[in-house]
Symmetry: C2
Subunit: 356 residues, 2 copies
Amino acid sequence: MAATLVEIARLARVSVATVSRALNGQPGVGPKMRKRIQALAAQVDYTPHANARALVTGRIPFLGLVVPDITNPFFPSLARGAEEEAFARGYSLLLLNTNWSPTRLRQAFDLLTSRRVAGLMMSVSLEGLGDDHRDWSDLARTVVMAGVPAPVGSGIGAVDVDDLEGGRLVGRHLLERGWRRIGFVAGSAADRSARDRLAGLQEALAEAGRPGALGATSAGEWSEASGYDQARRLLARRSRPDAIFAANDLLALGVARAAAEAGMALGTDLGLVGYDDIDSVRWTAVPITSVSQPEFDVGREAARRLVALAEGAVAEPDARLEPCLVVRASSGANPHARPATADGALAFQTSTETVR
Amino acid sequence: MAATLVEIARLARVSVATVSRALNGQPGVGPKMRKRIQALAAQVDYTPHANARALVTGRIPFLGLVVPDITNPFFPSLARGAEEEAFARGYSLLLLNTNWSPTRLRQAFDLLTSRRVAGLMMSVSLEGLGDDHRDWSDLARTVVMAGVPAPVGSGIGAVDVDDLEGGRLVGRHLLERGWRRIGFVAGSAADRSARDRLAGLQEALAEAGRPGALGATSAGEWSEASGYDQARRLLARRSRPDAIFAANDLLALGVARAAAEAGMALGTDLGLVGYDDIDSVRWTAVPITSVSQPEFDVGREAARRLVALAEGAVAEPDARLEPCLVVRASSGANPHARPATADGALAFQTSTETVR
DNA sequence: TCGCGCACCGCAAACGTTTGCGTTACGCAA
DNA sequence: TTGCGTAACGCAAACGTTTGCGGTGCGCGA
């Protein structure tokens, strides 16, 4: 069923070398013979044996993509961006879930190297691998981090999103809308992205000469339930924040639920902005302002760099993509704020809008 | 860097055959020698060359997964189920997006066959391939449909979800809650899943002796905007439905928006149930009842069948997995319905609950 | 007409495995 | 001690390509 070069060669009464050259568009074969061979190949439904080719060329056109959990809304579009770019360059994508398990991460790693993939994109922190692992340096040529930072000093390239800038966008926006006391809720406080987002917020407040506008900060897990709990505690304080920055949208959904329970209207009684711009935040009773990350572009760019690396190009400096703010009603405007304009009108648009 | 069997053989002063047998746990090599070779292999960090192995054994442990768009919330968990099962059985997953394009579908198909994958799972209808394609019959051994039906008469196995039953669940539930006139909105009316869900609804109504409870049916696209438009038209009719069954959750979200605009409260003024149980329907102002599909299990089961097929097992009859209903507030209860119980109490629970 | 050069094509090695078969050597019974 | 059976190991072919190198034929200029 599966025709090989040998059969075609036999049919055409030429050598396999000639058939190979003819079908791969390489020089050294006459036009009429090439035509004949191509016709023959089409006739017997020849499909090249990628593995055999890979064996002699040493490189197989596969790219590995390791994600913690494809179910997490962040990763599918990253995967799609990567797949699109890879496909366009003749590579295929090998998908591996680690389910956040270091063991699975290690297994995925070994699997991919045993498959001799051309390169692999890691969307999960490499810290879990431990230092006893083989030297990073020989990986640097064929690995690029996608959406997460590389281990320090590893020399591995990375393309991720600027969490600092995301925090800044939120800070500026909330101040602009007249909020005065901004609370911050996060998942794990140890998480680098959480720290960066908070740092960005602080920077923006400092820039505006309002460092004191940062209210209480809180941490828990990256879940809706945790957001609910944290918000309840924050809102029960004597000096409650009038706005909350949730470090991801699941948390923001929890905050929204807590606010609703407390009888507070989002956008007027409480300002709220989340992070990630997942689909759900568009459909809440009052839609939630959120920071949107270019995951698709992260995947695309990571794949581009990876094939470049695999094909011998020199490593490029890390890419840091910019997030953007999607403004919705939840960040509304503080009714108690002093009018920002001379005539006292607060002309804030409430429809969905993208800043930057 | 990458050690081969040859090097180990040279180091151990034995033949490659012995090394191969020792490392693969095959008989024909003494225990002491085996130990020695294993130690040596570990020492030089040997990783088997999967491609070379695949070349001689003829089978490469890859499974292809073709989806229309991994960004669509339905597919990531299907992919995860498939990946989990495949991984457990020593196979890796090759991910391909077709972006709903028949051209890309064809390309994906050719790509996978050229890679000589052990088998492939199709989550996209094969109709787009056209009949001029190579015979289905030789594919039947290495292809299984996942979440979509197989072409009729193709002999290709399938594992999908019972849309008829889903429709029935919805019909019974809505009647139970006292709704009397049930409208139906869908995406493409030509879509088999849409037809089956409607048919199931009709069956349930007929079973209950209330075939007349089916109100207007409508079709458009599988989008929120379309749901909004369709709902507006339905609700503007003189004989407006008092409940709506949306054939997917995006449509349901649109219906919810239209209802809110019309000043109708979900669960009391209008019953609503969607399909797919995407995350967003949990966070709307009034959470939406929806039919949940076991996508994860579909992927898992499809992968299981595929490796069984690839390893020579006989084809099993098609599997049809059962959906279940996740009850939320939007299906509430019709306040104008005659009490169903003797004492006039309508003891419906309004919290999230799963039927079946 | 002769000779040179180049386009065209074939030969064969190589990539890293697996595996059937042949050979060696060892242990044990006679 | 001799014979035989079997466990242990080596040889070499094979999988389907690619590719450097060598060989043949042709066309062209002199």
